[in-house]
Amino acid sequence: MHAEQAAADSPRTLFDKVWQQHEILRWPQGPSLLYVDRDFVHEGAFHAFGDLKRRGLQVRCPERVVGFADHYVPTKARDIAGAATPAIAKVLQQFSDNARWSGIRAFDIGDERQGIVHVAAPELGLTQPGMVITCNDSHTSTHGALGAIAFGIGQSETTQVLATQTVWLKRPSLMRINVTGSRASGVSAKDVMLAILAQVGSAGAVGHAIEYAGSVVAAMSIEERLTLCNMSIELGGRCGMVAPDDTTFAYLFGRPFAPDGQYWDAAVAYWRTLGSDPDAVFDKEIQIDGSAIAPMVTWGTSPDAALPIDARVPDPERLSGAERATAHAALEYMGLQPNTPLTDIAIDRVFIGSCTNSRIEDLRAAAAVAAGRKAVVPAIVVPGSESVRRAAEAEGLDQVFLAAGFEWRHAGCSMCVAMNGDVVAPGERCASTSNRNFMGRQGPNARTHLMSPAMAAAAAVTGRLSDVRRLPTRKRA
């Protein structure tokens, strides 16, 4: 038997199957040259476009590159004139100019399908199983929810993808995270991910491609899987994937850029072959009891500093070595005392949005909590895309939020990264549905607690971190 044949017959993982379809060559003692089916760019790619022009190169396959304006767009206005500062307006203008110069399709500010790349691209059917997808953004891992190898790249790598449609990448090790059992009510995909982070740690998956599996994942909607894969990078993972299944195909069917009539059946037949073979071997396997997961919040400055909402702030003195020093620094930055019940922590502001949690199911979950209640702190809702915004308005969710005193904004990254002028003030404490609680992430000296949309809405109506399962009953209208 030929070696190639043997390799094809031995059990393979989802990752292997997609990887092998894209590996053009492997350098001795080095990386592989991978073919990139699709590259997404956001405004931050102006460095790469500049590099491309300086080198006298062009975008080789404009039809394989798609742009989304998301990081710098204002969420109160829908044109560049509404940008927070002239410097931000310049970045937005450069994005439009570069799209025009290169001939790529851009979902720019003002486009009715504009949105955060990791929300808008899947909903447009641009993200498909079996693809290799890159983007100048670390949360590109999100797209793996549909069974793609999708990973974030830097500016130099973006230049290369634009010029050659390829990227150098060393084959990562493989990790499978099995979430078994079934989720209790009130427990969202975000809670599952924060529980995984608490167990695996922020560096636990460095150098690994992650596959999420198990009954909890199989039962998830695509939007929930997107939330899960989104935070693969918070585990340090190179990418995160879920095997494509009937849920995936039903989600993709009929989307604007999904394979159409002529190719649909062939595509689905191929996608069905992608799942990991039963005996496929992973370098690491992690087991998580999905039935034991409760609503989670973070208390520190790293996303793995997550605990169930009924826990208390940890006491650094009970930790050792580097962990103790890190926890001390985190508590000082966060302005928290050890052993405080998490539900005693008062918050100043709420942000519902970001590529982790700004899809229609997220907004429904938040609206279900906000309905008939009143926010007691400033709260903003930023849909992940203009399509999500319209869908929410068609269901009346905007009215629910407005009646509850939440602000209803246009699509963009907004307060997740505070690049567009939507900032958490110094010292303020924000309950946020985003993915990073890093120091300064939402603004200089801003304090971030990560949680699900329902939990963020609960925090908005109580003014504290709260267990969404134990909210006081609503007043009658």
Binding site: Y35, C61, G103, G130, T166, S202, A266, M419, M439
Partner: protein, 219 residues
């Protein structure tokens, strides 16, 4: 690139695990052109008070570490965002080598693309080096890429790991984009085979994105 052969320079210890790229460069500075220089943004909010005054306790605000060209960090340095601005800031400040037990994957690649050497050593060795640097009167290290070693004074050399491919690229100043461009015949052949295998992902099928006529122009 001389700074990879017996390169001797001041090395600053950076304490703490998971030093993310938001700490290395806050997002608000990424909108500026590289040409204006990114060195002043390095560790900005750790280095400066809100009003712009230096924070005296931060390591790079203390002599001799102010002149550091090497950093020795802890686990998962450069995790988080893919912003290459983090490496622009290091490079423009003058940092040529970052030594740590583990790096964020994207940050690691970004270093290699910008002539900043990411040197992997063990947790124990990294902790020992940081301790030495804190106490030393001359906190200099010597880094040698051909032999892949780090030395403090006359001490035993510590081996660091780096794939041979990247070592050669750094030593010879190979441009990885140029290297990829030279593979174009293979890339084109691959593309054609791909179009036959998975026609729905072929370029012709994607033309509807750019408004050109192609297969499946339905939208």
């Amino acid at each position: 690139m001389s700074h990879f052969r017996d390169f001797r320079a001041i090395a600053a210890p950076i304490e703490g695990v998971n030093v993310d790229t938001d700490q290395i460069i806050p997002a608000r500075f990424l909108k500026f052109d590289r040409a204006s220089g990114y060195g002043r943004f390095l560790f900005h909010d750790l280095r400066f008070e809100m009003e712009g005054r230096e924070r005296p306790e931060f390591i790079l605000n203390r002599d001799p570490f102010r002149a550091a060209r090497i950093l020795v960090a802890d686990e998962n340095f450069g995790c988080g965002s893919s912003r290459e601005g983090a490496v622009y800031a290091l490079g423009d400040y003058g940092i040529r080598v970052v030594i740590a037990p583990r790096f964020g994957d994207i940050f690691y690649n970004n270093c290699l693309r910008n002539g900043v050497l990411p040197a992997l050593i063990s947790v124990v060795d990294a902790a020992a080096l940081r301790k030495i640097l804190h106490a030393a009167s001359d906190p200099s290290l010597t880094v040698d890429l051909p032999s892949q070693t780090i030395r403090y004074g006359d001490g035993e050399p510590i081996a660091f790991s780096l794939d041979a491919f990247w070592r050669d690229c750094l030593l010879e100043g190979v441009d990885e984009i140029g290297l990829a461009l030279r593979q174009m015949p293979q890339i084109e052949a691959f593309e054609q085979a791909l179009a036959a295998r998975r026609p729905w992902t072929a370029s012709a099928c994607q033309r509807r994105l750019t408004g050109e006529p192609g297969l499946g122009t339905v939208e």
